[in-house]
């Protein structure tokens, strides 16, 4: 058996604060193949962002390990680029310079200056932001900021792109636009992606597999659903698609029947 692309192996996370300790994640096991789009869904506070941060290397594990191509992940790095929920662009840099910061750091030695410039512009064009390259983050809309965040992530040519509720802060129309963009990019580049979300439709629309998490504390992976929908997927065609409706129903049932978020009020 060949080594899996990304393996989350018996990961456990306990946060310690003084004498009190909170067990957030318990015995998480997941194998992700190259080119796969996996969504992690669960109620808020279930530790899905913690899981993503562990894969990113931003949060250390308490037990277990994350293996990328057989090598253990224990520090953040550009081969696991993160698209943050609040875009996290540096406000004093222009759109171009934000992407350039990543590109110059990752490809500073292997690409020439003009190659890097072309690569920055290529990635900005990929998210349709080439026209705004000289704008500062404060001068563009929330959706555009997130596009730049995605361009920055893609520009690092990561082995795996981690998206932490990337469209959570956007309005519904902008969100739909960006979901379409992400689908196009995924189809064109075949990136491996893990996306944290709490939006059922988004998860079903975009993912090959949906990982559903039980409620915390001590959240586990409750169920993994294969979404057997042909790509490219068209939002409008899917509305009446049986597989789509069934997948949606399965996720909704998991979230609201078997693992209702009791504390939510």
């Amino acid at each position: 058996m060949s080594t899996p692309y990304l393996k989350i192996d018996h990961v456990e996370k306990t946060f310690q604060r003084g004498a009190a300790s909170t067990n957030v994640l318990k015995d998480i096991n997941l194998v992700i193949d190259k080119g796969e789009y996996v969504s992690v869904i669960g109620h808020s506070g279930c530790g899905k962002s913690t899981l993503l941060n562990i894969v990113a290397g931003l949060t250390p594990v308490t037990e277990g390990a994350v293996l990328l191509e057989g090598k253990e992940v224990n520090a953040p790095g550009p081969e696991r680029a993160v698209v943050f929920q609040n875009h996290s662009l540096l406000p004093w840099l222009s759109v171009y310079d934000n992407v350039a910061l990543a590109v110059n750091k990752v490809f500073g030695r292997v690409k020439s200056k003009s190659e890097r410039h072309d690569w920055i512009m290529h990635n900005l064009d990929l998210v349709q932001m080439g026209h705004a390259k000289d704008k500062r983050p404060a001068e563009i809309s929330g959706g555009m900021k997130q596009r730049v965040g995605i361009a920055r992530g893609l520009a690092m040519e990561p082995k795996i792109l981690l998206l932490d509720e990337p469209f959570g802060a956007l309005d519904a129309l902008t969100r739909a636009h960006l979901q379409d963009s992400i689908m196009q990019i995924h189809a064109a580049l075949g990136n491996t992606m893990i996306m944290i979300t709490h939006d059922v439709d988004e998860a079903v629309l975009l993912s090959d597999r949906i990982v559903m998490m039980t409620n915390g504390p001590s959240a586990r992976i409750g169920e993994v659903l294969d979404v057997r929908l042909e790509r490219p997927r068209k939002r409008l065609d899917l509305v009446s698609d049986r597989t789509y409706i069934a997948a949606r129903e399965a996720v909704l049932k998991f979230l609201y029947e078997r693992h209702r978020f009791v504390e939510a009020a």
């Binding site: 790095g77 943050f84 406000p91 910061l101």
Partner: protein
Amino acid sequence: MGQAALKSASTGAEVIALPASGAEVVTLPHATGKPLHERLAPLAKSVLVNLVPPLITVALILLFWQIAASGPQSSLPPPTKIWAEAKDLITEPFFWAGSQDIGLGWRILVSLQRVAIGFGLAAIVGILLGALVGQSVWAMRGLDPVFQVLRTVPPLAWLPLSLAAFRDSQPSAIFVIFITAIWPVIINTAVGIRNIPQDYRNVAQVLRLNQVEFFFKVMVPSAAPYIFTGLRIGVGLSWLAIVAAEMLTGGVGIGFFIWDAWNSSRLSDIIVALVYIGVVGFVLDRVVAFVGTIVTRGTVVN
């Protein structure tokens, strides 16, 4: 069919509109002349609004001063006497008549040079130390109490010690400036760095920026508003300290000029020098604030 009719109707409308647009071209130079005139009016108004009240205040102060100091047993000179006695100092800041008989402009420049060196050093060392204290919990625990004690020491209390250490007035004065200006820079930089959002740190970690890259590309720009607050307080304090230090160390600076004038009872000269010091201090403050607004233009929380 209906569409075709619509089209012809719209082209017809265009033909009719054509002479109207031609007429607009004729009126164009006339139209640009008028807004320019109108654009200047609010500008002039804002200048008036901002300039007239302080001018009135200054005129009133001079008037009261004149009345108050005109009495025969008055110990301070009135403005008219100052003008008569120190006219050369006011109108010619850059005259040069021998090594000690020079214009106040030259003296100010000498003082400014000392401030520039002392404050420049304080800015560099202060930002670096502030970064250390802001970044490392252990550095903060170790250094912060020491800083908090030292920063309350009045600037001039350092002077005897620095005279003993440097055995020369010039480096001693610079050291006093340095030690006066450095504390607000350190403390504000540390606060600014402690307030760098975790998001920026995460970005830096994902990109694997090293310490130097992180310092220049994330830390300094992110903490820039705080750093410039510290620099602005620092430059004000250095200007306060230089005058006092020069009074004691002697030499060419504006501080020594005041002391010298006092020793030879030239009160008018002292008052002129005070105005110079005030104006220069004000300009220094505004220059640092202006540089700050330019540098931190992008660093808005959004």
